[in-house]
Amino acid sequence: MTPSKTHTMIRVAEKVIEHPGESATLYFDAPITFTPGQFVMFWIPGVDEKPYTLSFVSPARFGITIEAKGIFSQKAIALEPGDLVGIRGPFGNGFTLPDEPAHTVFVAGGFGMAPLAPLIDTLLENGENPLAVIHGARTRSHLLYHDSNDPNRNPPERHPGDRQFCTDDGSYGHKGFVTDLLLDLLGKGASVEQVYACGPEIMMHAVVQICRGEQIPCQVSLERYMRCGFGVCGACVCGEQVVCTDGPVFDDTQVSRMADFNRRALLKNGQIVDLDTYFTWRQPR
């Protein structure tokens, strides 16, 4: 008879600054039932509520990694241990691992590494190694969970090992796009059986194009403005898909049928606009 709780209030247990002033991971000490790729609605009382992927999960702790973009995310990275926030979820479907161990490649654009990281963790825990992890960003300070210049960095490198990096400005790794590195890998004849990609929609679109050309299954994680998080309000629809419940993870077959993938998105007022307009609206003001 007792109604289920609308949300859970929890205190920030630890904050790890990923890049000063730009990004941070907030940790919460509570168990959570979760599939990598799922997200929570994260409420800062008096401010707003937005969706964030869980970027870290262990039996008694979970974390979200936030990039400071607008007002909300700036307030989020300014939170301190002890601050009280609200969590609803987890919501969404999450990534699907292959039934059998397979040659997997991860392609992360900037903060697209956040949802992919716990999936890599799961793979490593299963005793499997990804074939490759390709991580690109605009510039060095947007690479996540990594800075090879500072071996004593705190936090330590999240997934040490053979990782491939690139930056748009060449400040770290290859100067260019993640797709260059992916094409490189495929050009060398690597047998890739599954690709997971997350990052800007245009990047994911390019990755999907490449994978479909090579007939490699690929999963991507989409981002849309969200309200309910559970499939009723319609704020997050992308074509005929409801991102918060059907997604946020979709496979290449789904996105290639999706009228609005890499094309259109809804503004907060429901207006359907092309992605450029959408991202302009989403820029910090």
Binding site: C233, K268, Q271
Partner: protein
């Protein structure tokens, strides 16, 4: 279960409630293909409006509370969408709102030219001319807005009522007298408020929100029952319907069609298909038709 409603052929008795998913042609079409006979668009307003900040929608377990705040691109900023909808192959209901009688009429006239199959007017909005009093709680303002809209549109008109009216049947009568072709009942119940005791503040950014889902079904059934007694025009019964049995109950109260909103959360988008099947199974096992049971709860024993 096939039927005709205000001259529109419908494949069954289920209707998508306004404000649920109906933000674009693609998703409306998917809802239609998931078994819904008549899909309603998210309410369209007179001007662009972002709605409220989040949190806007919360699940209470036995229903939900929302204060989305009627976000709308504005009726005259949806050309692309109207173009796509012109090429639709499913029946469409366009829901509209305004803050004054003139605004309702302006939006309705424009929308009518886009040829939806029917227009629903959401009269649960604050009436800016009457200091925030809600249109749908007074017979005179309900009459006024329905008459004004009726004059400027070429498609049938549904008046969507709020249970906050102390006597919803008299509001329904006023709407019928003003020319409404059907009634949709009900909009959300309340409003309600959920306070988070840790942060000591209302959880919804707008503080108050409307209740929907299973917990409001008794209120919705009572409203439909009262309205059925009072009017001759058909009723879309809406509020808490989650199963075929809920829909049958609403039909027995007097509804011709049954709307579904929050249940999309609880049973998925194909809730329309599920509910239709369950209704059919019930009717078959009871060897009767919708017409046999419509308003059956009004028969005295």
């Amino acid at each position: 279960m096939k039927t005709e409603f205000l001259g529109i052929p419908l494949k069954n008795r289920t209707v998508l409630a306004s404000g649920i998913l109906g933000n674009s042609k693609d998703i409306l079409e998917r809802v239609y293909h998931s078994g819904c006979a008549l899909v309603t668009m998210k309410s369209i307003g007179p001007a662009p409006r972002d709605g409220h900040k989040n949190p806007t929608v919360l699940d209470l377990g036995h229903g939900m509370i929302n204060a989305v705040g009627l976000p709308s691109p504005g009726y005259d900023r949806m050309e692309g969408e109207w173009d796509e909808l012109a090429r639709r192959n499913f029946p469409l209901c366009a829901s509209i709102y305004g803050g004054s009688v003139a605004e309702y009429a302006r939006v309705a006239e424009f929308v009518s030219q886009k040829k939806p199959d029917v227009i629903e007017i959401n009269i649960s909005c604050p009436n800016s001319e009457k200091h925030g009093m809600i249109f749908g709680v007074h017979t005179d303002s309900a009459f006024e807005v329905v008459s004004a809209v009726k004059q400027v549109i070429n498609v049938p008109l549904i008046a969507k009522l709020t249970p906050q009216a102390p006597d919803i049947a008299s509001i329904a009568c006023a709407c019928e007298d003003a020319g409404a072709d059907a009634i949709c009942a009900i909009n959300t119940v309340g409003p309600g408020m959920v306070i988070d005791i840790e942060s000591r503040q209302p959880v919804l950014a707008f503080k108050k929100g409307g209740l929907s889902g299973p917990m409001i079904k008794p209120v919705a059934v009572r409203c439909v029952y009262d309205i059925f007694k009072a009017v001759r025009i058909p009723i879309i019964g809406l509020g808490g319907i989650t199963t075929g049995e809920d829909a049958i109950e609403m039909i027995m109260a007097g509804a011709s069609l049954t709307g579904i909103g929050s249940a999309v959360r609880y049973r998925g988008i194909d809730v329309f298909d599920k509910v239709t099947r369950e209704m059919n199974d019930w009717l078959e096992s009871h060897n009767c038709s919708i017409e046999d049971i419509k308003g059956a709860a009004h028969q005295e024993t």
